[in-house]
């Protein structure tokens, strides 16, 4: 089959590779009908994540048709049309049983690597370095899906791919970012980052009862998309974010803040190394680590800072005094996709939202290198790329 493989910094190639096979009894093989490039794939593309090997197949947002099932797959059968969740989760462990699927204790065969870096390991993830398991990703014609009963959501035949594809990651991720704010009727929510996940946080915050959403970014087309979703916007290249937020909220600050940016600083070998990489990122990508600090400083007393943007290691100058003295709550996590995707599918079916609005580029899988290039450089007003094998 053809697959988009990583070969190094800013070097991905579509190549011929062997077809996947059932390796564990609860696996299914999915023939992929649509697959997307995620903002977090750019961390791999820019080689900020260690433990990548040349030839790794990328991609963790994909869907398709079940073409083969292992002997212990119970609720999926050949022919089912499914969306695949980016967290690989067993469904049986302590965390899966509490619906904290991205913390699955059994799905990362390389847990030891993650333990060295984080103290404990999160779940396995498709196409996302060896640190999260060394699983082949979904920017390919076929993919092996472990624990298929837990890791796939059946979708009705009538709904187009573009409506349901993002249940794999960015819609539930944006939604969890908003849900962690514990939104009360009338709340004002500030959201840093208007990329695809930020767009879904904006819409989810309104769904959950926010009265005002203020979105912060610098890319005009992303701010325009945020406004289309009902948000007020701050272009931080033109206005001071903190001052503007205070002015808009009478000096109290937003009730909750969502960091949908994250920090493009990953590193692997001990505190010193990771710290230096973080500092490098500070120089290279100035807006990114600043988002979390700004969100903390701007949040109202007793408010919540929800961190759904990806962080990899250590950060510099964390304003703990502000967090502690002002009774802030910080909530974080990789999205527990399977906890949300059922009810979000219902919302799509009801017509509350059509997630396809974020798509700006449709391509063939063979054009993945070009897709990465324009997405990474925010060229051609690119917000979201979807590919067909």
């Amino acid at each position: 089959m053809r697959a988009n493989c990583w070969y190094g910094k800013k070097d991905v190639r579509v190549e011929q590779v062997p077809d996947p096979k059932i390796l564990n009894k609860r696996d299914a093989i999915v023939k992929i009908s649509s697959t997307a490039i995620c903002g977090s794939d750019l961390h791999l593309y820019n080689h900020f994540i260690p433990t990548m090997e040349k030839g790794d197949i990328l991609g963790h947002e994909f869907m398709g048709e079940v073409v083969e099932v292992g002997p212990e797959v119970k609720d999926r059968k050949v022919g089912d049309r499914v969306v695949v969740s980016f967290p690989i989760s067993c469904g049986n462990c302590f965390f899966c049983k509490q619906e904290m699927y991205s913390l699955c204790e059994n799905s990362n065969p390389n847990a030891w690597m993650a333990e060295k870096m984080f103290g404990h390991s999160p779940c396995g993830i498709y196409g996302y370095s060896h640190l999260t398991g060394g699983y082949a990703g979904g920017q390919a014609e076929y993919a092996r899906v472990p624990f298929a009963d837990v890791g796939t959501l059946k979708v009705p035949d009538g709904m187009p791919d573009e409506q349901v594809l993002f249940l794999s990651d960015i819609f539930p991720t944006g939604y969890m970012g908003a849900e962690m704010c514990d939104i009360k009727q009338g709340d004002t929510i500030a959201i840093w980052g208007c990329g695809p996940v930020g767009q879904f946080s904006i819409r989810s915050a309104f769904m959950l009862g926010a009265e005002r959403v203020i979105a912060i970014d610098y890319v005009p087309e992303r701010l325009a998309m945020a406004e289309a979703g009902g948000a007020e916007t701050i272009n931080y290249e033109e206005q001071d974010t903190y001052e503007t937020l205070m002015e808009m909220t009478g000096g109290r600050g937003p009730d909750a803040c969502i960091d949908d940016v994250g920090m493009e600083a990953f590193g692997g070998h001990g505190i010193g190394y990771v710290y230096d990489r973080a500092k490098q990122a500070l120089g290279a990508e100035t807006d990114r680590p600043i988002a979390l600090r700004e969100a903390i400083m701007a949040c109202r007393n007793g408010g919540t800072v929800s961190v759904i943007g990806v962080y990899g290691g250590f950060i510099d100058k964390f304003p703990m005094g502000s967090v502690m003295n002002r009774s802030l709550t910080i909530r974080t996590g990789q999205c527990h996709v399977q906890r949300y995707w059922g009810k979000l599918l219902e919302r799509i079916e009801r017509g509350d939202i059509d997630p396809g609005f974020v798509i700006t580029h449709r391509m063939r899988l063979d054009d993945a290198p070009e897709g990465f290039d324009i997405f990474a450089n925010k060229e051609d007003n690119c917000i979201k790329v979807v590919m067909k094998p």
Binding site: A3, C5, V17, P18, D19, P20, K21, L23, N24, K25, R26, T51, E53, K54, G55, D56, I57, E72, C90, N92, C93, F94, E105, N106, S107, P109, N110, A111, W112, M113, G124, G127, H130, G133, G134, Y135, A136, G137, R144, P146, F147
Partner: protein, 334 residues
Amino acid sequence: MATKRQEIRTRTENVEQGRDRQNGRSPAGLKNGNAEKLARGLGWFSIGLGLAEVLAPRAVAKIAGVDDEDTRLIRLFGLREIASGVGIFMQGEHPTEAIFSRVAGDALDIASLVKAFTSSKSSKGRVAFATANVLAVTALDVLCAYQLSKDGTGGTQVRKSIIINSSPEELYEFWHNFENLPTFMKHLESVRVTGEGRSHWIARAPAGGTVKWDAEVTDDRPNELIAWRSLEGSDVENVGSVRFERAPGGRGTIVKVEVEYSPPGGALGSLVAKLFGEEPEQQISDDLRCLKQVMEVGEVVVSDGTIWDNALLTQRPPQPVPGEEMSKSQSATS
């Protein structure tokens, strides 16, 4: 059954006590107290000498009778001494490798002194005196390294635990059938029960070899504990136990494994094993994770990158495995 187990226990306890009396060891382990004390002494000596070399290189040069024009080398030697010293304290109770690093350092010192002996700028008498001192310390280092590494099962001690969503009863039953162990212990090729409380073990060694040993159960308390020790003539002498403790709040069982073994080839063998990515502590922790997978999801979970092994050194890129390689791996794991 219970009485037979009781018998085994009493018998092995007697064996253990006898051994302890003979060797003057504490029953809890097979440590060598004197070697450890010596190691600590050598650690402080390293740090003291290292500080002197870094802070007062000229004085050190004068005492040793060597040329004091270039103090950089002495300072570097000082840093090496400090690193060895710190290494000894950081390695805990068995600083075998750090002591080996001292032996290597001694060799360097001696080589430098021999070179100084031929130099016109050095004082022959003082160099000879310094060399004699270094030789004496070298003798101590070698003795200490020998004691730490030779001592039977006192070689490597590993303790690991994991929490598993199964009852102590289920886990005990699964573990007690030793022939199940290779399903989650990657390095075990097979375990065959050869008689009451006795079994024959074959494990894969670095670089494609195998090691074999016979073991006997020394303690067996249903749903609670299994302890074993290797018998005479083993390739790898080892003593170990697994405990099953009910976790609080009905959250399954805490499985605690303790293993003490002497790697073939002593400390040097252990270093070689580490070069091959075979770190015993990591191995046992990985094995326990696989046990958890077997109990909670029914089998060991693999990814394309980890299909044969989960040491990073041997990991392949996460691409599906080609057909012909696949059959190879299946025959290796079945």
